[in-house]
Amino acid sequence: MEALQKSAREALENHKAKVIIGYSEGSGGRMRPIFVQSPAEAEKLTWNDRCTQNLAVYIAKPEVQKLGKPALVAPLPVLRAVLQLASENQIKEGDLLVLALSDGRVTELSQFSEMEEFVAKTPTHLASKDQEAIERLEKMTPQERWQYWQSELTRCFKCYACRAACPMCYCSRCTVECNQPQWIPVPAHPLGNWEWHLMRAMHLAGRCVSCGACGDACPLDIPIHLLTMKVEADIHREFGSQAGMKVQSEHALSSFKVQDKENFII
């Protein structure tokens, strides 16, 4: 914690960043994002395993951009989101600084190459609870899985917190809001919810950094993060590529190999 606060303070004092976007203790045992603009405030920064929000989501926000160059407190998923955003040309080298966290150490990274190296050294496996949940679902019969997702997704009231919490959902107009034609029904009825979540997962295919922020953001505790994580894991397995690892990378769904698997095609 002290290391983090010290790095943040130095980044501000040395004018390497204008604002530190980090985590602080919030209300009711929740964590919250904090935008530290003066070295004195750096003492509010903290980090623990309740910090589930992906702070990379704030990079694209106009009000945050107005504050000047940010330094992101970055556990692995935030760092991967930064790299993925860079690979999608959403940020440029030098736009931001990263205070990467791992094993209680803080590493200041400004070059994408440094971030790539850092990520390459860090294991990227899913949290065991998410891995187990996916495996449990995979073991079910198709009917059970259908029932499971029907009952979960039918509860959704389409507040779009999942989308808002996702650093990769940066489109100014989401497909769900495109109405010529109206692809996804607007109302939160079973079909509207079903298509929305399936579409969301597909549009994150090959882009999801598996941070789980969408699931954590859901006020109704619907485990929607399992959908994007599952797609991402499959893509990693089948095509060998992983989101948020390299800036100059071919995106899984906008590239191909001639020898890609096609055992399901007759």
Partner: protein, 336 residues
């Protein structure tokens, strides 16, 4: 108003009876790690030891998706089929907290002032509210700051307050409450000797809403909004769990030949809410949308409808993915 007593087991008998009369009962139930309102199918699912449900009970009066009418077109002729309101089921909201019940007044004010929204009015007419006073509260509760209390009877037809063990004080508040009593008078005992006050949660008053209202009046251009809304992600979670928020969208579903017109929940927090067809957006950044939410609840609604748009249930604070705590927001604003 009359006061009676009722035992926990007898409450279940009353609910059984209502279920047997084909009434839909919305009641708090455990869903995973959460407690939420849902139509009650089995009394075993009912829970009353929670502090607050995730969602409010407003969906029973203002459903997330509601049909407004159907249309059918043959050639150049169109036929409209009005929504049949005669078949709306009698429904009971059970286990609502006093804040939820208090939210019915501002919600009604929106839907019935000047032009009466028939669907809402009809649902309300067919709804009986049985609230249960709060024995406990948490740090997100602030009902007392907005003129509501943990044992308030406003908006309820019957208010239950647990006195000890399984004995409840039953306050019969309206004709609909009286009808419940008449449905099964044998379930109710005489008025208990004890009053409810000692059994209610202590909810600390955190701010003075009148001061807030007055300060907001001149605070549209206050730099506070830009600062405080930095964390706001721009979702509709706060609005959708709120018992008062009532903004909606109207959409057609189906083909041009046949389909229905629906209304569905919407939120001023979402970026496209105010977007003009020309591309111009009067509220183009999130801080403006956050300001709208605060202004609408604490300034505009009191001015327009003489109703505060907030009942202090704290759901928005609990639901916010970025932990924008409403009490803190208000306190910070009052100091700003």
């Amino acid at each position: 108003m009359q006061k009676r007593s009722i035992r926990r087991a007898q409450i279940n008998v009353l609910l059984e009876k209502l279920l047997s009369l084909h009434q839909v009962i919305y009641a708090p139930q455990k869903l995973g790690n959460q407690v939420d309102f849902a139509p009650l199918r089995d009394l075993q699912d009912l829970t009353l030891d929670h502090i607050q449900t995730v969602r409010s009970a407003k969906a029973a009066l203002f459903p997330p998706v509601e049909e407004l009418l159907r249309y059918q077109r043959a050639g150049v002729e169109t036929e409209l089929q009005d929504r049949d309101l005669t078949n709306l089921a009698e429904q009971v909201l059970f286990g609502t907290r006093p804040c939820d019940a208090a939210a019915i007044a501002p919600l009604s004010a929106v839907f019935t002032t000047d032009d009466q929204d028939a669907i809402f009015a009809r649902r309300l007419e067919r709804t009986t509210v049985i609230s249960v006073s709060c024995e406990r509260s948490d740090g997100d509760c602030f009902c007392t700051s907005v003129g509501v209390g943990p044992g308030d009877s406003r908006g309820s037809d019957l208010l239950l307050t647990r006195l000890q063990d399984d004995e409840y004080l039953a306050e019969i508040l309206t004709a609909k409450g009286e009808a419940l009593l008449q449905l099964a008078p044998e379930l109710f005992g005489p008025e208990p000797a004890e009053s409810k006050e000692a059994h209610l949660a202590k909810v600390q008053k955190r701010f003075d809403w009148e001061a807030l209202h007055d300060k907001l009046a001149g605070a549209f251009d206050h730099p506070f909004w830009l600062r405080t809304a930095l964390a706001c992600l721009g979702c509709g979670a706060c609005a959708y769990v709120c018992p008062v928020c009532s903004c909606f969208d109207i959409q057609d579903e189906g083909s041009q030949k046949k389909g229905r017109r629906l209304r569905s929940w919407d939120s001023c927090g979402l970026a496209l809410f105010t977007l003009h067809a020309s591309g111009h957006n009067p509220r183009s950044i999130q801080s403006q949308r956050w300001r709208q939410r605060m202004m609408h609840k604490f300034s505009y609604m009191p001015d327009q409808l003489q109703q505060l748009g907030c009942v202090g249930c704290g759901r928005c604070s609990r639901a916010c993915p970025a932990d924008m705590n409403l009490i803190e927001q208000v306190e910070n604003f009052l100091f700003a």
